[in-house]
């Protein structure tokens, strides 16, 4: 049973930020609510004030320009991102990830900003956004700040968002030339969260790897970069024994939990296998990329 709350429905960003600063000690922000409402119904989250930003149209957009890259407003739904021809063309890994996120019903109502702020280590967008080098624009009544998404996650379901702050925008730079990206999760039902997930992004210089980014989902209390594995790739040519070592490094550096879905050891094994696969896939895409 959901505990009673006062319902506030701002329609402008400024109004939302003013409400947040007035009620910061006892409020929660809801947008699509696809995660939050479950927690509220289970009594895990209670609040005196619920600030509903679903109608803040200023934050519902997908924009792109060659210099600034891609910017996505926080209240943009997953389905909008999935179906955006702009994103399908320029950031295919992002639209592909969205098609694997939960079900159509959830993607129709749930938002990218809500997912990112929920801070679930098994969330699909975070690893992909990490490998794309995304930054987050956060705001409160006093102003805005920008931080890389990997600094945003501080612990299990915890983020660097201050109590009077709102996520406003997700910013994704234009990928370097000859960059390829890939994402896949392992699960039993395709609409489930990943038992683990791996995203990789590879930039090539000739036949050698110029730089690499690898991010893991549900393999630690938060989504995380596998930095040692990334460093092993720099300056190297694609080879099976290299992939083996890279997968091993990622598996050693993650901190998976054991739960009803998989043991910690099995998760490490999966991380190693999927890291190999995603690095190879991203590499092959980079070879084809302009």
């Amino acid at each position: 049973m959901i505990k009673d709350f006062n319902y506030l429905r701002p329609t402008k960003v400024k109004e939302a930020l003013d409400l947040l600063s007035a009620h910061k000690d006892d409020c929660k922000v809801i947008c699509g609510g696809q995660s939050l409402l479950i927690l509220m119904r289970q009594g895990l989250v209670t609040t005196d004030y619920l600030i509903d930003i679903k109608r803040v149209a200023e934050l519902n957009y997908v924009n792109w320009d060659a210099k600034a890259g891609l910017t996505i407003g926080a209240t943009t739904t997953h389905r909008t991102i999935e179906k955006s021809s702009l994103i399908q063309e320029k950031y295919r890994v992002l639209s592909d990830m969205e098609t694997k996120l939960a079900s159509i019903q959830v993607r129709n109502w749930g938002t990218i900003g809500g997912n990112v702020c929920h801070g679930d280590a098994a969330g699909d967008p975070a690893p992909v956004l990490m490998t794309l080098g995304a930054t987050l624009k956060l705001g409160n009544a006093a102003g805005t700040r920008v931080m890389p998404i990997e600094e945003f996650y501080t612990d299990l379901f915890e983020t660097a968002l201050k109590e009077d702050e709102l996520l406003l925008e997700i910013q994704i730079p234009t990928p370097a030339p000859r960059t390829g990206s890939a994402y896949e999760k392992f699960n039993l039902l395709s609409s489930d969260q990943g038992i683990i997930a791996v995203a990789a992004s590879i930039t090539l210089n000739g036949k050698t790897c110029k730089s690499a980014r690898i991010a893991l989902g549900n393999a630690a209390p938060t989504a995380m970069r596998a930095k040692r594995a990334e460093e092993m790739l720099a300056g190297q040519k694609l080879a099976d024994d290299l992939l083996e070592k890279v997968g091993q490094a990622a598996a050693e550096d993650c901190e998976p939990i054991a739960d009803i879905h998989a043991s910690a050891d099995y998760r490490r094994h999966l991380v190693s296998v999927f890291t190999k696969r995603m690095v190879k896939k991203a590499w092959q895409q980079a070879e084809k990329a302009a």
């Binding site: 609510g33 479950i38 509903d52 079900s103």
Partner: protein, 161 residues
């Protein structure tokens, strides 16, 4: 708790209700407005039994605050039949026997309808994706896909005209 005024359109009829803002859409549809065709089952955004169509989009009504549909148009399974004529997707389900116990059916119909509205000629894979968020423990889904295929093939077009 202060009650809030909610204005919404369900199956082309406008309603005004005063509700506690914590009420979920499925509760308002069933308990306030009496459209009990929409089923409530898992309550955790898993099973899809409570699926309704909001402004053309299939959404699980157990995971939406009713206040969020203020001013919007909602269609429930009761709204599929028009002037005594079943919707083609309902005919398809009947002709293929695409149910046994029937509990998932109203949600399944709404997901199938929303998919066909959005994409009138879906591939089999697209049909599967369209009902991915709806669980059925009886049919094995094949009869549901066949029902959707009938509609996509335009089988009931003349009867609707």
């Amino acid at each position: 708790m202060k009650k809030e005024l909610l204005r919404l359109t369900v199956n082309d009829v406008e309603y005004e209700v005063y509700i506690n803002p914590k009420r979920l859409l499925v509760e308002v549809i069933r308990d306030e407005l009496g459209f009990t065709g929409t089923k409530r089952a898992c309550d955790t955004v898993s099973c899809g039994c409570c699926t309704v169509i909001i402004e053309g989009m299939a959404v699980k009504s157990c995971s939406v605050l009713a206040m969020q549909v203020d001013g919007l148009r909602v269609k429930t399974v009761e709204g599929l039949e028009v002037n005594g004529k079943l919707d083609p997707i309902q005919k398809g389900f009947l002709d293929e026997g695409a149910f046994q116990c029937g509990f998932c059916t109203s949600g399944m119909l709404m997901s199938a309808r929303a998919l066909l509205d959005e994409n009138p000629n879906p591939t089999k894979e697209e049909m599967k994706d369209g009902i991915e968020g709806n669980l059925c423990r009886c049919t094995g889904y094949n009869s549901i896909i066949r029902a959707m295929t009938r509609v996509a093939n335009g089988q009931y077009k003349e009867e609707q005209a």
